[in-house]
């Protein structure tokens, strides 16, 4: 399968981050047409027809999310989740740097569709350059009449505001994001109520990922059916896959959903010379490992879920035969331990404990009983926490024990990493 560039069609055009170049490549034509020829309900219908599913990780149908907003006369808000921080994922970073106007256009379309007079972009604090690029894009779009009062000369007005977080992975969880946007510690909220009924400032709120909102532009431009004709029946459209790790040409690659993993690896240049494939984390650090038997697996939501892992945000980390699974998994757990917000005991204490167990296993002083302990801990964290962080934290470690038990055992029989000893010796 070849790349299908829809969102990234113009990503390599020089100066595409500026309004004039973006307009020259058709930018904002869809917005103008939608605002003058389509009702908000038409735009919602196009997104419903497209079957677009949220690109932030959960894969919830976007059109349905928009349809949940209650009709009770309260002001509605749109929030863009640009808190990208899932290890292995860097598509939103790329979209914001290259195509800030695509995001602005997508957000304006989405805000019009749901009837929001105000919209927010929540950027992770580290995205300072992205903040500046978007600030510039918003200023240009406002001056050109694509934002602000009377968008494209119509009765619709939209105020788009930027907000920078300050460093916390958990703020990618939508309710933690809303708390952070309200100026508090980013701690996940009780659901229900869902953001659709009580979101930002208690108002009905839609929270969508950067890539999701960017996809709204081509969907409205070409129609929902056009988008739905790509990809698989249950995972329509294209997806930006972030390819990283042991590859010759890591980077973002846009393919139709359901592309075989082997085609993605080939697009990213394949493995380094002399190396062999060992494993892949197909959906960021929150996803379980897959091994060589799944090298041709279709990279869509449902197929990966059936294989016991997930597409998540599309962050594909490829590991070759030089990578120590124990060390790599331990590093992932260090991340989750660091990022646990501390609200739920199983997650707060469990990630700490698992990090300790994995550390002693890596150092070669673990025992076989530690492997069962890891699986037991995983069972007591996954599904027992307030938000999805707990499930995410244990996916890699639980799958690593099942798939690579012998490699763990080799660590305590060799009193250390056999791969490292092989390299040194």
């Amino acid at each position: 399968m070849n790349e299908s560039k829809v969102l990234l069609a113009h990503a390599d055009v020089k100066g595409i981050e500026t309004l004039s170049v973006y307009e020259r490549h058709g930018g904002y034509a869809t917005l103008k047409r939608a605002l003058t020829e389509m009702t908000p309900a038409d735009v919602v219908q196009a997104v419903l027809d497209s079957g677009l599913r949220g690109r932030g990780g959960a894969g919830f149908p976007t059109g349905r999310k928009w349809s949940f907003l209650p009709n009770d006369g309260r002001e509605r808000l749109l929030v863009c989740n640009a808190d990208e921080g899932e290890p292995g994922t860097f598509k939103d970073h790329f979209l914001i740097h290259r195509l800030p106007h695509l995001l602005v256009e997508g957000m304006t379309l989405a805000s019009y569709a749901i009837g929001a007079p105000r919209a927010y972009i929540y950027l992770r604090g580290e995205f300072l350059q992205g903040y500046e690029l978007l600030e510039q894009a918003i200023a240009e779009a406002t001056a050109a009449g694509y934002l602000g009062q009377h968008v494209c000369g119509t009765d619709y007005s939209l105020e788009l505001k930027l907000y920078r977080g300050a460093g916390a992975y958990i703020c990618g969880e939508e309710t933690a994001l809303l708390d952070s946007l309200e100026g508090r510690r980013g701690i996940p909220r009780m659901k229900p109520p869902f953001p659709a009924t009580a979101g930002l400032y208690g108002l009905p709120t839609v929270v969508n990922n950067v890539e999701t909102l960017c996809a709204v532009v081509p969907i409205v431009e070409h129609g929902g059916e056009w988008f739905k004709a790509m990809g698989t029946e249950k995972s329509p459209g294209t997806k930006i896959y972030s390819m990283s790790g042991a590859l010759k040409r890591p980077g973002n690659y846009e393919f139709e959903m359901g592309v075989p993993l082997s085609d993605l690896i080939e697009a990213a240049g394949g493995l380094m010379a002399g190396r062999t494939f060992k494993a892949v984390v197909p959906g960021g650090a929150s996803a379980a490992y897959l091994t060589g038997e799944h090298i041709d697996i279709a990279m869509d939501y449902d197929t990966l879920a059936q294989a016991g892992t997930m597409l998540g945000s599309g962050g594909v980390i490829v590991l070759d035969d030089t990578v120590c699974i124990v060390s790599f998994t331990r590093r992932a757990m260090e991340f989750f331990r660091h990022e646990s917000c501390g609200k739920c005991t199983p997650c707060r204490e469990g990630t700490l404990w698992m990090d300790q167990v994995l550390t002693r296993l890596e150092e070669g002083i673990g025992t076989e009983a530690d492997l069962d302990l890891l699986l037991d801990l995983a069972d007591n964290i996954g599904g027992r926490t307030f938000c999805a962080f707990g499930d995410a934290a244990v996916a890699m470690v639980a799958s690593s024990v099942r798939l690579f038990r012998q490699e763990y055992i080799a660590h305590f029989t060799h009193q250390g990493c056999p791969l490292q000893k092989e390299r040194v010796g």
Binding site: H97, E126, A166, G183, S242, S244, G245, A246
Partner: protein, 163 residues
């Protein structure tokens, strides 16, 4: 607090119709001005936001980008998360230690650099990656790191790179 800084903070407050949303942007502004979130900054933020200092401390302590001690003029955040591990971040950190005597912790004796190991910076395809004063530097080999740091030590601005 200087008058200019107070005006900047008041302008931030005016940006957000719901006042509490201004707290994190105000803390960013105070940190930009003072170099880190000083005890004085916490008191000033509390006063501006009509909150207690305990409430402000609660927010400051949650987020990794708010520093509680002085950093170097150039604060280097090296990602050592999964993808960067696979692309040589350990070698980069070892090089920064050996050649530049930089280790995570306080600023270098001349106050120019400080180093921090950070979690994923969402740039895994361009690993290993670091930020200097929150500006990205991609594909950081030890040689490239030398070029960047030499330039900064000579007084260049940390402009970062574009993808």
């Amino acid at each position: 607090m200087t008058e200019a800084l107070r005006e900047r903070c008041e302008a931030i407050k005016a940006t957000y119709p719901e006042a509490q949303s201004a707290l994190i942007p105000i803390l960013h502004a105070l940190q930009d001005s003072y170099g880190y979130v000083t005890p004085q900054a916490v008191e000033e933020a509390a006063e501006l936001m009509a909150m207690t200092t305990a409430e402000v401390e609660g927010v400051v302590s949650f987020y990794t980008l708010f520093h509680r001690k002085a950093t170097g003029r150039y604060h280097i955040q090296v990602c050592d998360n999964l993808a960067c591990q696979l692309r040589g971040t350990d070698e980069l950190l070892a090089h920064l230690k050996e050649k530049w005597q930089l280790e995570p912790g306080g600023p270098s004796p001349d106050g120019i650099f400080s180093l921090e190991r950070v979690e994923c910076l969402a740039a895994c395809g361009y690993a290993p990656v670091a930020q200097v004063n929150l500006r990205y530097y991609y594909h950081l080999t030890p040689e490239k790191a030398d070029q960047v740091l030499s330039g900064l030590a000579d007084g260049e601005e940390a402009r970062g790179e574009r993808i």
